[in-house]
């Protein structure tokens, strides 16, 4: 018995260590990166190929693959402002062949002074969502007047105010839960945006348009690329950014009703338990 307990404990410890491995961040596996890791600057940002371009095994090295014009790629890091190592794929690309997408970091840099610290939660009920405030600064009170207090599903999280990418959409369902917001931004038209971050069936991070939580049309025409000043979205819907590239898991969140699965599981348990009891009784009768 002691031996089995020991084996059990060892397997549990191993399994817990293995679980931790799943959180390990990917790093490029090439000799160039290993030698120059200290000179590389972490990126994690999304770029678009300006034209058909090559992937190299190292800066100025052999061509190992290609990327089509318009294709989106993530860079793990950049080196000497001229090369970038691809994320989740070994290979190096010329930065001059890429243009970087405007992202939430750019948004923060540009609108830092207009972002306020707030505190609250979006309550995800069975059929409705509801905004609850714990702390609201005076500066946003006017804008907050136009927000919805209660709305129907879905509740969409955008990458940043003015983005055309929905990062995650919370669907309807039977389980009540909540997601929290901690920052607010009032856009040029005076509308309020709330920034949510936390964990609910996976990481959630993004901005909700407080006046229309379900909106699937970008609220306003924002910037697509970091290196251009003008808005480049063609039709206001901006399909240029491929949906689902960053964390757009479309997870319905707590939106699933647990009642149905719970009833089904309980049913299976009852039937199985009944079968086991009947089998036990029959075996005893046969034995007697």
């Amino acid at each position: 018995m002691k031996k089995f307990m020991l084996i059990w404990l060892m397997t549990v410890v191993l399994a817990l260590c293995a679980g931790a491995l799943a959180d390990v961040i990917w790093i490029p596996m090439d000799s160039f990166y290993e030698m120059h890791a200290s000179e590389c600057v972490k990126s994690g940002r999304r770029y678009e190929a300006r034209s058909d371009m090559n992937i190299y095994d190292q800066p100025d090295g052999k061509v190992t693959g290609s990327i089509k014009a318009g294709e989106a790629v993530y860079l793990y890091c950049t080196w000497q402002d001229s090369w970038g190592a691809l994320d989740w794929k070994n290979g190096w690309v010329r930065l001059s062949d890429l243009r970087r997408y405007y992202d939430e970091d750019d948004f923060y840099a540009e609108h830092f002074s207009q972002i306020f610290t707030v505190e609250g939660a979006l309550l995800l009920g069975e059929d409705k969502v509801q905004i609850k405030w714990n702390y609201m600064p005076d500066e946003i009170k006017d804008a907050a007047g136009a927000q919805v207090s209660e709305a129907s599903y879905p509740a969409n999280l955008w990458a940043y105010p003015g983005s055309n990418m929905i990062r995650r959409s919370f669907g309807s369902g039977g389980v009540s839960s909540s997601i929290t917001f901690n920052s607010a931004y009032v856009d040029e038209s005076g509308a309020l945006w709330l920034r949510f971050s936390g964990y609910l069936y996976g990481r959630y991070e993004g901005w909700m348009y407080a006046s229309d939580l379900s909106s699937e049309t970008p609220r306003f025409v924002g910037r697509i690329y970091a290196d251009t000043d003008e808005a480049e979205r063609e039709d206001g819907k901006g399909e240029k950014v491929p949906a689902g590239v960053t964390g757009a898991n479309g997870n319905g969140g707590p939106g699933g009703s647990l009642l149905l699965p719970a009833v089904a599981v309980a049913g299976v348990m009852l039937i199985t338990a009944a079968l086991l009891i009947v089998m036990r009784r029959r075996t005893r009768t046969q034995g007697a």
Binding site: T11, A22, D23, L200, Y201, G256, S257, A262, T272, T283
Partner: protein
Amino acid sequence: MNPFLRFLVLSLSISLGLTLAIEIIGALIAGKRGRALVIVLLVNVLTNPPAVLASVCITGLLFPLPAVEKLCILAIEAAVVCVEALVYRSWWEYFWHPWRLSLALNAASFVLGTLMQLLILF
């Protein structure tokens, strides 16, 4: 189908299928045949779905800290081992060492399941 419900149904069926495969092979290796195998199968149908459902609820609803999540999963696994061992003990004529069998089969299932998850992740 609602994405969460689809995720739940998939989790329940994949987990039950894998557990049954691993534990029945384990029971065969342990020399169990005939009715004993049917009991192993039924016991797993009895314990696996509620364990998976409880794990999904805990990991999704409790804003889990990784450590808390793992502790909860360990508690669920321990409960499964106990329930299965108690059922095996009531069939003493087929299972002479119910606790050992339950521990061994569940450990195999847990470790192989985790390894498969890692293989899928990487």
